[in-house]
């Protein structure tokens, strides 16, 4: 987060957000201020990432706490509509109505985002299809597309109108490496002018894209800060050794045949290596108790 961003009014302001489903607590006391730029949301399955993103996308209300998104209160119907006019959302799982072509579906979504003037809408739909490299498949029925291409159709509708807040739930699922790199380029551009929240399991995406990372576990924010600060938590705690160290918090065999050990104790003959975001994330997951937040 740049200094200028920190001083500007946050795009998203969450205070004490809590949410339960059928008595099961999914989010507890989430406080977040999000500014322009790209924020990565990491966490294991069931951590509450999707629920948090659905609250940001205004499709789900919080049970507790208060939220201001793009300067509006999502609990108020009229203000919620204002938020939605400036929001792009890609859910984790997006189905498509039967019979729609790629162009037809994005065009339909453009109308739902109030692009009423046909010429402007056509240009807008063409632009986002170009951004996700689907121009040549615009006439194809969605059911004939590959999983990655369908994902990009979903992304295209989220990009309509260059929203000020872009909420993406696992956007790189199903994309091949080349497409992921292209997507990163698009999102990097977006992040200059908008707030982009990306929930993912891919730590390399966060490392490549995000300035800031939020780690969520069991509905609680465990870390909120710069990516480099999270990585710094693992500094001097990642070792490359010939075997797995039983004292290590976690270890795994790498492609070179050596073992990557994460922990405080150095295995015998081990070589200290530069930590990655994944190392730091795994370390954080293993060392903090739910409810305790690590200061950035």
């Amino acid at each position: 987060m740049t200094e200028g961003n920190a001083m500007s009014a946050p795009t998203v302001q969450l205070r004490g957000i809590g949410k339960s489903f059928r008595g099961s607590r999914v989010l507890t006391g989430v406080d977040l201020d999000l500014h322009r730029g790209i924020v990565g949301l990491l966490g294991p399955n069931g951590a509450g990432k999707t629920t948090l993103l659905r609250i940001l996308a205004t499709v789900l209300g919080a049970d507790e706490g208060s939220a201001r998104i793009l300067g509006h209160d999502p609990a108020d119907g009229a203000q919620r509509t204002e938020i939605r006019r400036r929001l792009g959302y890609l859910p984790q799982e997006l189905g498509y109505p039967r019979g729609f072509t790629t162009y037809g579906f994005v065009d339909y979504m453009a109308v739902l985002k109030e692009w009423d003037e046909p010429a402007a809408r056509r240009a807008q739909v063409g632009r986002v299809l170009d951004q996700v490299a689907l121009t040549d498949r615009s006439a194809a029925r969605i059911r004939t597309l590959s999983g990655g291409q369908r994902r990009r159709v979903g992304l295209a509708q989220a990009l309509l109108g260059a929203p000020e807040l872009l909420v993406l739930d696992e956007p790189t699922t199903g994309l091949d490496p080349e497409q992921r790199v292209s997507l990163r380029q698009v999102l990097a551009e977006f992040g200059r002018a908008a707030t982009v929240v990306v929930a993912t399991h891919q730590t390399e995406d966060v490392a490549a894209l995000c300035e800031r990372v939020v780690v969520l576990d069991e509905g609680v924010v465990r870390f909120d800060g710069a990516v480099r600060d999270l990585v710094a938590l693992a500094q001097d705690r990642v070792w490359l050794a010939d075997g797995a160290d039983p004292r290590a918090q976690t270890s795994w065999r790498t492609a070179t045949g050596r073992y990557r050990n994460i922990g405080d104790a150095a295995p015998s003959g081990a070589q200290l290596v530069e930590p990655t975001l994944e190392d730091a994330y795994l370390l954080l997951r293993g060392t903090t108790e739910p409810g305790s937040e690590v200061a950035a």
């Binding site: 498509y96 019979g99 951004q131 996700v132």
Partner: protein
Amino acid sequence: MTTLETRVVPVGGGRATLGQLARIEARRFALHPLLWAGLVLGVVTSAGERGPIELDYQVIPAFFIGVLGLVVANRLTVSTRRSRAVLDAAPVPDTTRTAALCLACLVPATAGLALVLLHRAFVLADPFPGWAYGTYGPVDRVVITMVLPVIACLGAPLLGVAVGRWLRFPGAGLLTVLTLLCWSALASYLPAQNMDAGSLPARVLHMTTPYTAFGTDPGNGTGTLTVVRSYTGSPVWFAVWTLCLSGLVAAAALWWRADVRTRGLLRRAGVVLGVVALVALSLSVATGSHDVHDSSRSGTVPVAPAADGA
């Protein structure tokens, strides 16, 4: 993938959005294979043929366009459930999407009208004799053969939208079709064939349905039309009743996830439509013929209750 262009802000909302959405839904409706199948079957079974007797003609568009239109409308409505996650995050409310689907039901209504007009052209070229219209006068004849079929082609698809919005279980559309067909068949023919058709319960049952028949060929075994049996009730008031039912069904569809203000408007519209519907239903029973008649070249005679059990 390419880089971003400058930020652009959408324009519009409200009626303009509804118009655009209605165009998209109408196009989806018009391109649906089931609608085309219904139109082709309707043309094949009525145009250029004497088909069923003129008083029963409305069954062709009502079944082939109306019932199949119900299925199409239901499928179109249900199909967007898969994208619910992103639809919910769009600024355009669900009510607008439902209204667009309701407006798209003008497509099957137009198809029904086209079928009616095509049939009319054939009838004008080779007119039926006057007795083939039974006891019905000129206005009733127009209503039975040209107005009621179009209302059926509008109302049934509207019911498909409402069912798609409110009933979430699989097969709800099919169940609605079966219910509608059984109800209409029972209400249409039982009173005239198995009950004392002139009795009040029979006349009420005959009219209390979204579709009813106003006449039939009692059959003489020769395959040629020699007698036409006309039923009870007023076709004109029945048309008003079914039109109000269509309006009520549309209001029920629009009620789904509507905001407080819209529900207030719908409530008022529903009360007005409900009152008019009840008045029209009462008048459809109270006016028009109170008895079943058989008409032939030699004249019109009332059919005695349970006289032939035809």
